[in-house]
């Protein structure tokens, strides 16, 4: 059983398109995150949600909108895709905010390529 699962694993799309990446965790965690790993290999936090509420939004463009329909899901919608959005996007979850990223579980990543 996959603890944190992301779909799709690979996504190739044209500039200007709108796309979504889905994330689900079956660990019963309260907190979920989206991270972006860019071409320079830095892993940077984008968003964190705790119990469906936005906690952290790290100066991410408005084109990126996370949506958390319930505690187990945190989907990432990206509008008007740009070349610079090409990266690997990781979803993660942790038990709650008190644990922060102490024992965060990551999904396998979604490699987004914008052409």
């Amino acid at each position: 059983d996959t603890a944190v699962s992301q779909t799709p694993k690979y996504l190739v799309t044209q500039m200007g398109n709108d796309k979504s990446i889905k994330c689900e965790q079956n660990l019963g965690h309260d907190t979920m995150y989206w991270y972006k790993q860019d071409s320079k290999k830095f892993l940077k936090i984008m968003f964190s949600y705790n119990n469906k509420e936005l906690i952290i939004n790290e100066t991410v463009p408005n084109r990126f909108s996370p949506k958390s329909p319930d505690k187990a899901h945190l989907n990432l919608h990206i509008n008007s895709l740009e070349l610079g959005d090409s990266a690997v996007y990781f979803c993660a979850s942790s038990q709650d905010l008190s644990q922060g990223m102490r024992k965060a579980f990551f999904g396998q990543g979604t490699r987004l390529t914008v052409v």
Partner: protein, 113 residues
């Protein structure tokens, strides 16, 4: 602005020997430090952590050392095994749980049999 630096992009070690991965940080507000391990096509997995009140934490073959005055931490793997070959990320944050983790760029460790 790199707050967490892993200056060695790669490291090769023979099986059975010690692997030492280094990490430096610049933000004195960081109070909690973690190491993550990442295999290709997989997400990072938590390996070991240390809080600023300690200078050493050990878990099996993995030991993390923290030198707060030097803003430096290191991960020791003894003995190294081929299955340890992966990218290791150092990460840091403040004590509060909703402070985001700041990651280094990672060090690729290759353990040669």
């Amino acid at each position: 602005d790199q707050q967490v630096k892993q200056n060695s992009p790669s490291l090769s070690v023979q099986e059975g020997r010690i692997s030492i991965l280094n990490c430096d940080y610049t933000n004195s507000m960081f109070d909690y430090f973690l190491w993550y391990k990442k295999y290709p096509a997989e997400g990072p997995t938590f390996l070991i952590s240390i809080s600023s009140i300690k200078d050493k934490n050990e878990d099996g073959r993995f030991t993390v050392f923290l030198n707060k005055s030097a803003k430096h931490l290191s991960l020791h793997i003894v003995p190294s095994q081929p299955g340890d070959s992966a990218v290791y990320f150092c990460a840091a944050r403040g004590l509060s749980g909703n402070t985001p983790l700041v990651f280094g760029k990672g060090t690729r460790l290759s353990v040669i049999a």
